[in-house]
């Protein structure tokens, strides 16, 4: 690949901040423009930690290796700067912000993404929000609700997709977006992601998941398996299918090597 990748992770080691607890033990991963990657792995393998380190969660600390986003050192940037650069993290557990409406939250976020000195046009914003909600088949009244406050699991995840649709990232990291969803909710969320990927073929996606199930609805170009803080296998969609058939057990022995 000659062009600069969207994301390049090399030899990344990371630990829990303020603790001597290493989680990532040398992760290598390169994602090109418009590619959809999936990282699968058992609980505790470090796949969610990778997502958080990429987004800049203050609870984790990179101790070795590098993370580059479009050729720039991502680890130097604050979380808000990473977002404005084009990184988006769909949370596994979206956080409640009582008293703040989704519309207000999104307006503030969209404003933050504008170049310095440029003011958001409230009418354009309203039109854009309406259009994005239609695309994702959401009821307009949803935008008046307080961010994640009292939401069902499915509503929380749809809210993440709506934010992604409004912020139009260059890299969307989806941390166990499928967890806690029944099959209908999963289909709705997956179809939202697919629509956004179709709309912007240059957007890259990193799916983090425990199960093959999500990959039935969002088809990845590459699948990686993470065990004990390392990527132990990479390949095409067939890797996920093999994993579905055999389980993570096979890596237990391999992981020891």
């Amino acid at each position: 690949m000659s062009e600069t990748p969207i994301l390049r992770v090399e030899g990344l080691q990371a630990k829990v901040a303020d603790e001597d607890l290493g989680i990532l033990n040398g992760v290598d991963l390169t994602i090109g423009r418009g590619e959809i990657h999936a990282i699968m792995g058992p609980n505790g393998s470090g796949k969610s930690t990778l997502a958080k380190v990429v987004a800049g969660h203050p609870g984790y600390e990179a101790v070795a290796g590098c993370v580059e986003f479009r050729g720039e050192d991502l680890l130097e940037l604050e979380p808000d700067e990473r977002s404005r650069a084009g990184v988006f993290l769909a949370f596994q557990y979206p956080v409640e912000i009582p008293g703040v409406s989704i519309a207000n939250f999104l307006r503030t976020a969209v404003q933050a993404h504008l170049p310095e000195g440029e003011e958001i046009d409230v009418f354009d914003f309203a039109d854009q929000l309406t259009e994005r909600m239609e695309l994702l088949e959401m009821d307009p009244s949803f935008a008046e609700r307080h961010v994640n406050d009292g939401f069902s699991g499915g509503e929380k995840k749809r809210n993440e997709i709506l934010q992604m649709a409004m912020l139009q990232p260059k890299l969307a990291v989806m941390d166990e977006t499928d967890s806690g969803l029944d099959i209908d909710a999963l289909k709705v969320v997956a179809s939202g992601v697919n629509k956004l990927a179709e709309e912007d073929p240059e957007m890259s996606v990193l799916l983090i998941t425990h199960y093959q199930r999500l990959l039935d609805y969002i088809e990845p170009d590459f699948v990686h398996v993470m065990v004990d803080g390392r990527i132990v296998q990479s390949g095409g969609p067939e890797v996920a299918l093999a994993l579905e058939a055999e389980g993570y057990g096979v890596y237990d022995e391999a992981g020891a090597a």
Binding site: A55, G56, H57, P58, G59, E78, P79, D80, R82, S83, R84, F88, L89, F91, P94, V95, E96, I97, P98, G99, V100, F105, T108, A109, A112, H113, H146, Q163, L167
Partner: protein, 471 residues
């Protein structure tokens, strides 16, 4: 004889509403409080004999009462009281139209940011400049309906019987040391009467500010909402910063008669050297409905507990309050509800935000007398701490003499969580803005009850306070 003194140029901090206009008070009493000062005030106001007696009796009670030992730290107060002027009167008489209002005072409103249109449109703006009403207008239809919206002095002059029947009945002189002080030296404030069955759609608004160094402000407001009437009164104020301590001690008395509904809204943003000790109470008769909406920002120490005495069957009282304490500030606030009749209901929702070394205290009382069967009360107080050094305390006193009563209390203390901040910043929102957003969300249940311009102002103040809060 009145003496003229020019306000000197003072060194000002960069406080948001910090400015001085060159008003020349026509009369100013001597510093400190004594019988002579009280007699001068009463004489100057050409009051009837009974009011002078009332004031002198109050002075005696004030002097006999010790400083409260509970609440905030009042140890520095005595020195302040010896240095302040207990009476300042900027002009000889009331202004009746906007054109008569001196440019200087208009300038003051300008700086306070009251929009031009609003000044004229807002019906019945009673603006208190220094201690008295200088501008006072009342919509014609209200006059036709028999609504009285006067300065407290004119209330006494023009409606002596109605005034005397209710004055000092809701908050007796001896209720506490500061109600006694106010009763001795009160000056300025509003007198409002809403006749039976009259319902006002537009709120009555009073805007006042303290504009002179070492000038104590002792406003006194008396509001009578007659049977079946409905109204909303709004009072907001901002005060400039002075280099010496300041003091404010108001008394607000409200009578809500049978089946009447009344809401009293106030946002106070005192300068950070102000002792703000206010007594405000409503008596609510059968089927009546009283709401206090109270916001306290600024001041060095605020002690304020809006109260509802539910004396008639089915009366309802509500207290919604927000307090913000920054460095060196203590907001000791809350509410009191007293259930003295059957089927009375009440609710207190109190939210406080403490930042830096700020301290917020919730102090509340819910009392249910024997015989107030089927009384129901719910108290909810939530505290938000911004920094490790911030402090909050909760003192919910509950006294129940009636078996058949239902009283609930919920309290929560939260900190702005790392996860909340990360969630917002991961969407591109800068950290201090994220912080302000979380705080705005926290007070939203109360802010949404405010008239729009006040909610906007409150949010703007919170934003200013949150700036630079991220280390």
């Amino acid at each position: 004889m009145p003496q003229n003194e020019t306000i000197q140029n003072l060194d000002l901090d960069d406080y948001k509403y910090d400015f001085i206009t060159g008003g020349e008070p026509v009369y100013r009493a001597q510093k400190g409080l004594n019988e002579e000062v009280v007699r001068q005030i009463s004489k100057h106001k050409e009051e009837p004999e009974w009011m002078l007696d009332f004031r002198l009796k109050a002075l005696e009670i004030y002097e006999s009462k010790p400083m409260p030992k509970w609440g905030g730290d009042l140890s520095g107060l005595q020195d302040v009281l010896e240095e302040i002027y207990f009476y300042v009167r900027p002009q000889d008489r009331m202004q009746h139209s906007w054109d008569d209002v001196p440019e200087e005072i208009k300038d003051t409103f300008e700086k306070l940011g009251i929009p031009e249109a609003e000044r004229k449109v807002l019906a019945g703006v009673g603006a208190q400049y220094e201690s008295e009403m200088v501008y006072h207008s009342l919509r014609e239809e209200w006059e036709k309906q028999g609504v009285i919206f006067d300065s407290i002095e004119d209330g006494l002059k023009n409606h002596p019987e109605l005034f005397r029947e209710h004055f000092g009945t809701v908050i007796p002189t001896g209720d506490n040391k500061f109600s006694a002080m106010n009763s001795a030296v009160w000056s300025g404030g509003s007198f409002v009467y809403i006749p039976k069955g009259v319902s006002l759609d537009t709120p009555l608004q009073a805007y006042f500010r303290v504009n002179q160094e070492r000038m104590g402000q002792f406003e006194r407001t008396l509001i009578i909402v007659d049977e079946g009437a409905q109204a909303h009164y709004i009072e907001g104020c901002t005060a400039p910063v002075y280099s010496t301590e300041s003091f404010h001690s108001g008394v607000i008395e409200i009578v809500v008669k049978k089946n009447a509904r009344f809401r009293y809204t106030t946002i106070q943003n005192w300068s950070n050297n102000m002792y703000n000790l206010v007594t405000q109470r409503a008596i609510v008769e059968a089927g009546g409905h009283m709401e206090w909406l109270d916001g306290n920002l600024g001041s060095k120490l605020t002690m304020k507990y809006p109260s509802c005495f539910l004396v008639g069957e089915g009366a309802h009282g509500e207290i919604l309050s927000i307090a913000y304490s920054g460095d060196g500030q203590h907001q000791d606030t809350g509410g009191k509800v007293v259930h003295a009749a059957p089927h009375t209901t009440s609710s207190i929702v109190s939210k406080s935000i403490s930042k830096g070394h700020g301290r917020s205290t919730y102090r509340g009382l819910c009392k249910v007398y024997e015989g107030a069967h089927h009384a129901r009360s719910n108290v909810e107080c939530d505290a938000l701490l911004i920094d490790e050094t911030s402090r909050t305390d909760t003192y919910p006193y509950i006294e129940i003499e009636e078996n058949d009563a239902n009283v609930g209390h919920e309290a929560s203390v939260s900190k702005i969580g790392e996860e909340q901040l990360f969630y917002l910043t991961s969407r591109g929102i800068a950290e201090d803005e994220a912080m302000a957003m979380i705080v705005r969300g926290f007070i939203e249940p109360i802010a949404k009850e405010l008239p729009l311009e006040y909610a906007v102002e409150l949010n703007r103040l919170i934003e200013l306070e949150m700036e630079g809060s991220v280390g």
